[in-house]
Symmetry: C2
Subunit: 331 residues, 2 copies
DNA sequence: CTGTTAGCGCCTTCAT
DNA sequence: ATGAAGGCGCTAACAG
């Protein structure tokens, strides 16, 4: 069922049928209505491959995210998908599992699929060969969550947000504040959040405690427990670099007989929906994940349309703080 | 950078270059290596739109899921994406938000994008116009989570799983067992789970309690509270039709001063990762969501390859039960 | 406002 | 084992 068939059926030329779908205003109302009616009756659908081949536009945005098992990325993906759809685009997502090798493979698959642009979250935007490949291929892209002066990025200011959390904890009487994070090497977000922690502690005139670094995906609750075991140097509050980690930490502490927030205060980062549904509700920095996704999609679409967007020109999006129930005021 | 350019560069014909990528065994080793080397140096990528136009295969699977905000679907999507990638396919997901109108729109967008097949979860497989559209369009599809004798479905046997839960609760001394669910109209899964509850109660010779039906997306904790308020008829255990609901229920109960499982036992359904990380860890029926996604993808790919798969021929996948910490043994 | 024409890049008989 | 040729369905000049 091609445009030619519709042309036959209506007695107009294929070009006119094409115009009806692409530049309706150039076609007389009579013809237009005729064509539309016949096309509907015939169940005609324009063939997107042919259109893509001809116009060199696939109307597909590729998406590369670390994982969908962390709701923060799933929410973001939904934002991307929605905004893309509104703009007439489809999306093609792949997860990288935080692995450089898979990142490569994924990008390669996405480029092979002729995507017009990409939204992605990479491990390290500063040393990332795939990004170079993309510019070389001339495919516009936008980084989500990553922060880097050399690329177009959509995200929040993790650093200052965490600094603000430290300030808040200090205001609540906390002095022994520790930070729990996944491997810093695996995420620039983790690094900025840690930096924000260091800044906050310094600003408050406090000594930063050693970073508690866990591998997150694995079950290394030991590390955490060993830190909590030394009751003399135990932190009174722990800032976790994401909500999933925070939830796990709370559970882990509880197993050692420490309840939250009575014995230890906990703050997360991300604001995933479920962390508000549990009890105690997690106190956390809420990132606007869906909005980040939407904005990122918007920026790729703009670039695809030829707009030039300067690296670093996108202001950080605002976070909100969810008070929750996992911070206790001391003294 | 087309196949013609590579042909020029190597001095062979375009046909041979094409063969190198599609039927390498038909090309002499010397030529093959030459072409591959040159293609790599030139950064050549086959153009998928052209291939699709020629072969009538897009190597894209469309995916329609209710939402990604429920991790159960995000996990499933990841499974689909992985398996599809392994099979050389990309995926194009859209969420329906549980709304029939959006379902229509999404399917239409997906068909317009020339997908070769679809994996989808619909509200009601028995009265679903979009499914009819799909068969009419001749596009193979597989339902995930839905259960229906008239379509190819991948999922679990919700009904018997819930019945087993009732049995388990009864074995733990529970008699007053209630069920909490989202709107039955919005989901055939919810309906089967409820049916499983009814069956289980009947089998145990117990009187089923009135279904507690909430709208889930909204904040109608009132309904729940009003049920818990009547201390005389309060259930000793509540089966929730999904984990998110269970988590919220636990929180809700706690606000009324009822702790889980001391005052009330709770069982979920889905086994989303996060429900194991909270404390108390949720007792729940664990669906193999990623595996469901993988299998569904596999079945669409098989159908795309021409295999005929009979409706209802796919056996339900096995669930496991996560013991968790939200069931208390009575008496 | 509408028709004619010429590819977009690839695959695939058919021939050699 | 390789080459030549046609066409998948559509759109964008260019005419008229």
């Amino acid at each position: 069922m091609s445009i030619l068939r519709i042309a036959e059926l209506t007695g107009v030329s294929p070009a006119t049928v094409s115009r009806v779908f692409n530049r309706p205003e150039q076609v007389s109302e009579t013809t237009r209505e005729l064509v539309i009616r016949v096309a509907n009756e015939a169940g005609y659908r324009p063939n997107s491959a042919a259109r893509t081949l001809r116009t060199q536009r696939s109307y597909v945005i590729g998406v590369l995210l670390p994982t969908l098992r962390n709701p923060v990325f799933a929410e973001c993906l939904e934002g991307i998908a929605q905004r893309a759809l509104e703009g007439g685009y489809g999306i093609m997502p792949i997860s990288s599992g935080y692995e450089a090798e898979q990142e490569r493979r994924a990008i390669s698959a996405l480029l092979a699929a002729n995507v017009d642009g990409l939204v992605l979250t990479v491990t390290d935007p500063e040393h990332c060969p795939v990004l170079a490949d993309l510019s070389k291929a001339g495919v516009p892209y936008v980084l989500a969550y990553n922060q880097s002066p050399s690329h177009v990025c959509v995200g929040v200011n993790s650093e200052s947000e965490v600094t603000a959390v430290v300030r808040k904890l200090v205001a609540n009487g906390h002095r022994q504040i520790a930070m729990l994070s996944g491997h810093l090497a695996a995420s620039d977000r983790a690094r900025s959040r840690y930096q924000g922690y260091l800044n906050g502690m310094a600003a408050a005139g406090l000594t930063a405690m050693p970073l508690i670094e866990v591998s997150f995906m694995n079950e290394d609750d030991r590390t955490v427990q060993s830190v909590l075991a030394k009751s003399n140097s135990r932190p009174s509050a722990v800032i976790c670099s994401n909500d999933l980690l925070a939830l796990r930490f709370i559970r882990c502490a509880k197993e050692l007989g420490l309840s939250t927030p009575q014995d230890i205060s906990v703050v997360g980062f991300d604001g995933i929906a479920v962390s508000a549904e549990v009890s105690p509700a997690l106190s956390t920095v809420v990132q606007p994940s869906a909005a980040i996704g939407r904005r990122a999609a918007e920026l790729v679409m703009a670039q695809i349309d030829g707009d030039l967007i300067a690296a670093g020109s996108e202001p950080p999006m605002p976070c909100s703080f969810r008070k929750g129930e996992t911070i206790r005021a001391l003294g």
